[in-house]
């Protein structure tokens, strides 16, 4: 990456690093160790990476949704570039959520997985956007790819709250082992600072990643245009 010639990227990287250091400092050293089941040292600190990653991932998918609508309305291919960038970054962070979750759950609750609403929805979300990315691989022409992906991007996101509700209702009928205090448990306010700090840092990191991925699409388009010119 030509970071030397890209001040915004350097700025994002630097800010992200600093804020992450602060956020994790707060998460590890200031945030309280509670007596509740979930908060066992040091495993509970996974939570400060797990939850912010989930927020970032969700924001990424929301960006795909907005960019998809924008593409359909304006037909400007740059919206599609933003959509695929946000989708990839969203999937990366979603994978982090799915990895850190079970690693937290196993030592604390003794099980790797449970079909509670949030975990299941995260898994489905991961599969939906993985499908979105795979679809793009198999469509050659840029504008058709953008069109089809936009449609899937919109349908996928609309489905997410429905998936969540379905899982929530299912869980009331089929009680599952409770993880992380159930859906409605709140967080100790002192823990919020750690979560927010890490979230801010991860958000900036994600912005950097989206930006670089977007640049990749720009370069690819430039290459195609040049190749076309070379053939003329």
């Amino acid at each position: 990456m030509n970071s030397a010639r890209d001040p915004v990227a350097v700025l994002l990287a630097g800010l992200s690093f600093i804020i992450l250091v602060v956020g994790f400092h707060y998460s590890f050293l200031r945030a309280p160790t509670e007596a509740s089941m979930a908060m066992v040292e040091p495993v509970q600190r996974i939570f400060y990476l797990h939850l912010p990653s989930a927020f970032v991932s969700f924001l990424g998918f929301f960006t795909v949704f907005v960019a998809s609508i924008a593409y359909l309305m304006t037909r400007n291919i740059r919206w599609d570039w933003l959509a695929v960038s946000a989708a990839e970054v969203g999937v990366v962070f979603c994978a982090a959520v799915l990895i850190t979750g079970p690693l937290w759950a196993k030592p604390v609750w003794g099980i790797w997985w449970t079909w509670d609403a949030r975990l299941t929805t995260t898994l489905i979300l991961f599969l939906i956007y993985l499908g979105y990315l795979m679809l793009r691989v198999y469509v050659i022409e840029a504008h058709r790819r953008a069109l089809l992906a936009a449609v899937v991007g919109i349908l996928g996101f609309v489905d997410v709250p429905i998936v969540y509700m379905a899982n929530r209702w299912w869980r009331t009928q089929h009680p599952q082992p409770v993880i992380a205090g159930g859906e409605s448990s709140g967080l100790d306010p002192r823990m919020w600072w750690g979560v927010l700090g890490v979230f801010a840092g991860l958000f900036l990191l994600a912005a950097l990643l989206v930006r670089q991925r977007y640049r990749l699409e720009e370069m690819r388009a430039e290459l195609i245009a040049l190749e076309r010119e070379a053939r003329v």
């Binding site: 996974i46 990476l49 990366v92 690693l103 670089q212 990749l216 370069m219 290459l223 070379a230």
Partner: protein, 55 residues
């Protein structure tokens, strides 16, 4: 006695490996595209030699 120290370390290592792995992956892809672009631009700017109806 730290509970789940192993899990804690693995979780953080894996997650950060994922983020940085993706960053590196992007950098590599960018580099290869940049190289292709430069090569193509060089070829185009040079006076046309092997002209004709080929790619």
């Amino acid at each position: 006695m730290p509970i789940g120290l192993k899990h804690f370390l693995i979780a953080y290592v894996l997650a950060w490996a994922l983020f940085f792995g993706y960053l590196v992956n992007l950098a590599l892809r960018q580099k290869s595209l940049a190289d292709e672009l430069r090569a193509l631009k060089d070829r185009l700017s040079r006076p046309d030699r092997a002209s004709g109806p080929q790619g």
